[in-house]
């Protein structure tokens, strides 16, 4: 009997010890937020970013301009935005290298090179196509956010984000002189045709109107914010607008040729181009105060 009582006592002690093992295996941090009292820089806030923009990869033009982006952050990591940018276009170095090989005047009928249909310097410039206005509507995803030290002295919050959306690009001829006629080497003035001729069309004398106007675009981008305080930050961004265009503005495709095989400028001469822009902006968050997580 005494032995049995001893066994039951030891068993009871063992049962008491068992929950202690379970407690020790459980992490008290489980289920708790990863960061307490985190400043939610984006959640339910409006972001206004005036930006300066520079194109990086247009073949013939360098776009320089500015605009702005307005974004509402539904959560700290998901947002919806819209942007508008206007860019002026300058001639890229490639324009100079091509122009030095082009004749000053268009080859006249008696000129041995008239069959080549090589544009003159001015014809070449007048046909170059570039975007002047860029509009985008997009969603943003901010998967990475944290803080960093600058020179081990300044501490700032930052985030990396990606954006994807759709937009429009307004294309025009930014280097065009507006000439309506060109002199040839024979001294004749050759008039510019606003549309293609049905026969014996000369693309150098056809206005590049088929390549201008509004084009739908796909929009992709990545960027970073570096916040100086809870409502002002620096924004660096790379945006890529993908749309159909013909940057050279002259004949590309033979599928649209006339019946007499003379080339024509038409939508068939456009192809998908990538226009990468670098943006530098100042981000202002509204309202100025950021929420603090629990």
């Amino acid at each position: 009997m005494r032995t049995q009582r001893f066994i039951f006592s030891v068993g009871a002690l063992a049962l008491l010890a068992a929950p202690a093992h379970a407690d020790r295996g459980r992490n008290p941090l489980a289920g708790q937020p990863a960061i307490r009292h985190r400043v939610e820089m984006r959640k339910l806030r409006l972001e206004l970013t005036p930006q300066l923009m520079l194109s990086l990869n247009q073949p013939y033009l360098i776009g320089v301009g500015g605009g702005g982006a307005l974004q509402f952050h539904l959560t700290d990591w998901l947002g919806l935005g819209a942007s508008f940018h206007y860019t002026a276009n300058l001639a890229a170095p490639l324009v100079g290298r091509i122009e030095e090989a082009l004749p000053l005047n268009y080859a006249g009928l008696g000129d041995p090179s008239s069959g080549l249909r090589q544009p003159s310097k001015q014809m070449f410039r007048d046909h170059l196509i570039g975007p002047s206005m860029l509009i985008g509507v997009y969603g943003t995803l901010t998967p990475i956010a944290g803080k960093f030290s600058l020179f081990n002295t300044l501490f700032a919050k930052y985030d990396f984000y990606g954006l994807i959306g759709v937009g429009f690009a307004m294309l025009n001829t930014p280097l065009s002189s507006g000439q309506t006629a060109y002199a040839d080497t024979g001294g004749r003035m050759l008039a510019v045709n606003s549309t293609a001729l049905g026969t014996a069309n000369d693309v150098n004398l056809q206005a590049p109107d088929p390549f201008t106007g509004l084009r739908p675009a796909g929009l992709f981008g990545i960027g970073v914010h570096m916040f100086f305080n809870h409502f002002i930050g620096l924004n660096l961004e790379l945006r890529d607008y993908l749309y159909k265009s013909n940057p050279g503005g002259l004949d590309v495709s033979t599928s649209d040729n006339n019946g007499d095989n003379s080339p024509v400028l038409s939508g068939a001469d456009e192809y998908l181009v990538s226009n990468l822009y670098f943006g530098l902006g100042l981000t202002i968050m509204i309202p100025p105060g950021a929420k603090i997580s629990r």
Partner: protein, 324 residues
Amino acid sequence: MRRLAIGLCVWTATALTLSGTDRLAYAREQQPAASPEAPADKPADPPAEAPAASPPGESATQEVAGAKTPTEGVQIKSRWDDIAVLPRRYSLKAKRVELMPMYHFTLNNPLIRHHGFGGQLNYFLSEALWLGIEGTGYLSQQFSGSDGTYFLTGAQDKVLPAVNKLIFSALLDFGYVPAYGKFALFNRAIVHWEGYVNLGVGAFMSEVIPVKRSDPAFQNISAMVKVGVGSRLFLTKFMTLNAFLSLYGYPDTFEPVANVSYNRDTNGACRDYYTGKQAGTPEFEAAYASCRKANGNTTLSLDVVFGLGLSFFLPPKFEYKGPR
């Protein structure tokens, strides 16, 4: 048999009970710091602190020998007690060598893309400053496809612009790390990173891709400068994934495409180069190449490149000097 079974039960129960006795110690850890016994149960003290001067005598020696080290104290505690309030820098780089194989490509040249394969060897003077050398060999991809600018320029404007391909570049680099940060990856792993700027000066070699395939190619060797920004993402304490954006500037000499007078005509613009040389001989061709090079157009080329690299820090191990 019955007695054996009872004995086994007794021993098992006793073992379980005894193994749970440190529950009391665990409970003490949960007590507030104001408890007079709390200091004895605080997380490990800084291990690097030197002990106070030992009192002379045998008793002191025994006391020291019997004392628990801070490490032993840590081992018996639960793992979350070892979390430092201010974690140390993830990896130290001072006086270590960084070996980085890398690949980069040009973003902004509409006629040709240079794919650069090379490496950097950097020595960190401190956590933020480094000196290094880099060498790159290039493979070229001319945009001569049906929607490539090189092809389209020829088709639209009846002109083929002069274009050069890079052969190699070698630079002496200087770098500085102004920014250091970290972020949580999927709210699980903490990833450390740093941002850097660097400057480089060195030399490059390029080669003309002749517009007319029958024309000779010539090579240029000249100075090159580089300005770049980049980031290192620490994968381990000795390995980082690097991404960088650099601007390479160099004066490149292109063949005189526009001026057709520089040809093989012995009475043409290159006639002085042909003196005493027989047409069709290697010497004549070399003279022709010299003429074209001397009359080429030298312009400043600016290549914006994006690249990726994998850095290995040597030696792979290091020691923290300061206390935790």
